[in-house]
């Protein structure tokens, strides 16, 4: 390294030290501020935006849940209203039925009060929710003899105060039923429950009222005759307290209650304070209900949220009552908020965990890179410094920029060093120039020598080098002497070469002749080879043909064996067939005998039939004679004749029976024989089929034997032809081999002549080598010793050396 280079290097090192100190101080805070960290910003951005989104989603979810809860409250309320309707409608139907029955009785002219009383009782027995029912006449309408008459039946209620019992108890089994005439018991014409419906001319539900200790409501309906005259009213009573107990359950999530308010605002049911409902207090007695009452009157159904509660209301169509479902807001909102906030919190936590995991993973992967950047900044330094408020990306950017700056600085330094190197090279060139002039002269002399050498190289041995007193003159003199020696030797070599050329021509002619002979021999050999191949091919064909013939013969042999087996099978079958035929013949004979016996039997039976007929005719004749006989003695004779005829008939019948039994036996025997014959025939049929198959097989075997025989004959002919061809090829091969032998003799004589020529050339080459031994050659230029051939002249192995010294 040059001093200049060393100086530049030290200056650069000095410059880099301050920035190195700065970067070290900065890099000591490798634990960068978490506030500026990329991960922290990412966490804040992601979680913040997610929370916003979740908040919006949660709010939307909360609204939907709230809506659903309100809908559920309204549905519950609607079902309760329908329940009330379902309980009140039967009461109205009972009243309608009783009114129709009363109208009918009046139309029919029924005036007996007991009839109307019984009518009311019959309807009372069918009541369900209603506890009482009655029919009150208009003046003298139903029962003319009375102005007012109101038969009224009701069930005994536990709420009725004992000392205010109304009416008379019926006899068992209806001893829980009481009857009263409400004119005498209650003076009904002065009561609202008579006057109001009459005035309204339609059925209506009364406001709850007290009736002897019972909080009651009544459905009263006036009824008219065909002339549209008022006949009276029909009413049914319903215990409001009992009705209210039906709606004591909660509204939703075991919270809330149902309350029923009449059309005038009186409480019918109020589960939080049942006594108020029993006392039929107004809604105004309940402050929260009082405050919300105006809103409830705006429509027939709806839901209001106020006073910390949900107020769902709906009017009962038939009675005009209002049913209100009250549910605290906390019940619904708490549930909804719990679900919403819980879900949002869970999702936010999950998201935070995911982001934190990603950030830690990112920091873990960035840390090695940042450490390397710090190390690089420490080692090399830089103009830019790392600030505490910068994140990882910014730090990487700053480190990368410092690195680029360092690379630029290094490049400038390298350029300076290269300039210095060029100056040194120029000084060296000047010193070399002075040395060149001194060598120029030397070169001229050496150039002359080189010209002479080049001339020698080109083969011009007539040139001479200039001799002088210097070293180069000595070299020129030596070169001249070398040239003279070389010319002499070359002249000698030229003469020898001419002799060798002439000998070579002779050898060439001999070699040509030998080549021709060799070619002819090769052709003959090729022809002989071809013929031999042909013979081989023919022989192979013959072998293949013979093998085929063998295979065919083997096939024939197998076929003959199969045929033999089939024929043996046929012979066995024929034997069996003969036996079967003999059996069949025997059976047929037996059958013929049986048929003869049957024929004999038929003839016998025919005779018996004829005899029978004859006997019958004789009996007829005897009977005719007997009818004409008057004399008992003659009659006895006739009777004896008749007896004889009867005996003959009996004997004939006996013969017939015996003959029939014999026939039956004969028939059975015939049947068995026929079955046996049938079986034999079937067996024979199978045998015949087997014979057919055997015959087919034999036929096939003979056919295959014939075919194989034809093939064998054809193969024999082919083998014969192949043998003739082989013989011809062998003759040709012998002829060609004789030609080859004669050519080989000629080649041997020519080869001995060539050997003599080669010995002569060898002697000439020996003399030439002796002359050339004057020159000594370096060892690597000496020709390598060739392997000695048997029968050739042995070369001298002494190395030849040149007299002229030669620098290696």
């Amino acid at each position: 390294m040059t001093p200049t280079t060393k100086k530049v290097r030290s200056e650069i090192d000095k410059k880099s030290q301050p920035s190195k100190q700065v970067s070290q101080k900065e890099s000591q805070g490798k634990n960068f501020s978490k506030q500026t960290s990329l991960g922290s910003r990412l966490l804040i951005l992601v979680v913040g935006s997610a929370l916003l989104g979740l908040g919006g989603l949660g709010y939307f979810f909360y609204q939907e849940l709230l809506k659903g809860a309100k809908q559920e409250i309204e549905e519950k309320l609607s079902s309760q209203v329908n329940l009330i309707e379902s309980k009140l409608n039967p009461v109205q139907q009972s009243v309608l039925g009783l009114a129709a029955s009363g109208r009918l009785l009046n139309r029919q002219g029924i005036k007996d009060p007991e009839v109307y009383k019984q009518l009311v009782f019959e309807h009372f027995k069918t009541l369900n929710l209603a506890i009482a029912i009655g029919i009150g006449q208009a003046p003298n309408q139903l029962v003319p003899e009375r102005k007012w008459y109101y038969p009224y039946f009701y069930r005994d209620q536990k709420d009725v105060k004992v000392d205010q019992k109304v009416g008379a108890r019926l006899a068992a089994p209806n001893n829980n039923v009481l009857f009263s005439d409400l004119f005498t018991g209650d003076n009904y014409p002065e009561k609202d429950y008579y006057k109001q419906p009459v005035a309204a001319a339609k059925g209506l539900w009364m406001e709850p009222y007290e009736f002897y200790g019972i909080s009651m409501t009544t459905y009263i309906m006036p009824f008219y005759n065909d002339a549209n005259q008022l006949l009276g009213v029909v009413g049914a009573d319903v215990n409001v307290t009992t009705l209210g107990e039906t709606f004591g359950g909660s509204v939703i999530s075991d919270a809330g209650y149902f309350t029923v308010v009449s059309s005038t605002g009186n409480l019918l049911t109020y589960p939080p304070e049942p006594p108020k409902a029993k006392n039929r207090e107004s809604y105004q007695s309940i402050p929260e209900l009082n405050s919300v009452w105006p809103k409830l009157q705006e429509r027939s159904a709806g839901l209001v949220q106020t006073e910390g509660k949900f107020w769902a209301y709906r009017k009962v169509p038939s009675s005009g009552w209002s049913m209100i479902a009250v549910v605290p807001e906390s019940t619904i909102l708490g549930r909804v908020l719990l679900i919403t906030v819980g879900t949002t919190t869970a999702v936010a936590a999950l998201l935070t965990l995911a982001v934190l995991w990603f950030i830690s993973n990112l920091n873990r992967r960035l840390k090695p890179i940042l450490d390397e950047c710090d190390k690089l900044a420490e080692a090399k330094g830089g103009a830019l410094t790392v600030s505490k408020n910068e994140d990882e990306i910014e730090r990487l950017t700053i480190s990368f920029q410092n690195l680029i700056e360092q690379i630029t600085t290094s490049e400038e330094r390298i350029k300076e060093e290269v300039g210095q190197t060029v100056q040194a090279q120029e000084q060296l060139n000047q010193s070399r120039q002075s040395e060149l002039e001194a060598n120029l002269q030397l070169e001229n002399e050496i150039g002359g020598l080189l010209d002479v050498v080049s001339s020698l190289e080109e083969g011009d041995l007539t040139v001479q080098a200039e001799v002088s007193d210097r070293a180069t003159g000595l070299v020129a003199d030596t070169l001249n002497r070398l040239r003279e020696q070389l010319a002499e030797i070359i002249a000698r070599v030229l003469g020898t070469a001419q002799q060798v050329a002439s000998g070579a021509k002779d050898l060439e002619e001999l070699a040509r002749t030998v080549a021709l002979n060799t070619v002819e021999e090769a052709q003959s050999v090729a022809q002989g080879q071809a013929l031999t191949e042909q013979v081989a091919t023919l022989a192979q064909n013959s072998v293949s043909q013979v093998s085929k013939a063998n295979q065919s013969l083997l096939t024939v042999q197998a076929t003959v064996e199969d045929g033999q087996i089939a024929i043996n099978t046929l012979i066995e079958g024929i034997t069996v067939l003969q036996k079967g035929t003999a059996q069949i013949v025997q059976r047929m004979k037996t059958l013929g005998e049986f048929v003869g016996l049957a024929e004999q039997f038929v003839q016998d039976q025919g005779q018996i039939a004829s005899l029978t007929q004859v006997l019958a005719i004789n009996a007829t004749l005897v009977a005719a004679r007997a009818a004409e006989q008057r004399d008992p003695k003659q009659f006895i004779g006739v009777a004896r004749e008749f007896e004889a005829i009867a005996g003959q008939v009996n004997s004939l019948a006996t013969q017939t029976n015996e003959g029939l039994s014999v026939l039956q036996q004969r028939t059975a025997q015939i049947q068995s024989v026929v079955s046996a014959v049938d079986a034999e025939v079937q067996n024979l049929g199978g045998l015949v089929a087997g014979f057919n198959i055997g015959v087919d097989q034999s036929q096939k075997a003979f056919y295959s034997v014939r075919k194989v025989t034809e093939q064998v004959v054809e193969l024999g002919q082919n083998v014969t032809e192949s043998s003739f061809a082989i013989a011809d090829a062998a003759d040709s091969t012998a002829k060609y081999i004789g030609e080859i032998a004669s050519l080989a003799e000629q080649t041997a004589s020519l080869t001995s002549t060539a050997r003599l020529q080669a010995e002569t050339i060898g002697d000439l080459a020996e003399r030439l080598l002796q002359g050339i031994q004057f020159f000594r050659l370096p060892t690597y230029m000496l020709p390598k010793a060739e392997p000695k051939l048997i029968g050739t002249a042995v070369q001298d192995e002494t190395s030849s050396e040149f007299a002229l010294s030669h620098d290696s």
Partner: protein
């Protein structure tokens, strides 16, 4: 026997004689028997129509072949002969056995009249018409007829 109109009988015995139907009134028939040829005792020197005699119930009964008598004298004698024994009503021929081919049936007079009315192709021969046709020489040996 020859009467301008044949008398009617309560029953008739119908027998076959070649293609003819020979009709016997029941009063003419004593008995109908079946005789095997082995039991027949031929009488030489009598006409071929007189087949021979048999022994029946202690009496000798002669058998006359109506086929030989009316058509072919050389007609073969079957193995079993159907013989109608004539009753006393036949007077001269009482007890004689007439050999027929076979007995067809025994019918009432109404049935016989109906049969005659329906079947007009089959020739019916009454016994009364047949008896006169029986020559008297058959009852005598032929040597005395030379």
């Amino acid at each position: 026997m020859n009467a301008p109109t044949l008398p009617s009988y309560s029953r008739y015995i119908l027998t076959s004689l070649g293609e003819q139907t020979l009709v016997f009134g029941d009063v003419f028939v004593s008995e109908i028997i079946l005789v095997e040829r082995a039991y027949l005792l031929p009488l030489p020197f009598y006409t071929p129509a007189l087949l021979g005699v048999i022994h029946r119930q202690g009496e000798i009964v002669s058998l006359t072949s109506l086929r030989r008598l009316l058509s072919d004298p050389n007609d073969l004698i079957p193995e079993k002969l159907t013989v109608v024994l004539l009753s006393k009503v036949a007077q001269d021929l009482a007890g004689v056995g007439l050999v027929v081919d076979k007995v067809q049936s025994s019918v009432s007079s109404e049935q016989y009249a109906k049969l005659r009315h329906q079947d007009l192709t089959t020739p019916y021969l009454q016994l009364e018409d047949l008896l006169p046709r029986i020559p008297a020489y058959i009852w005598q040996p032929q040597r005395w007829l030379l």
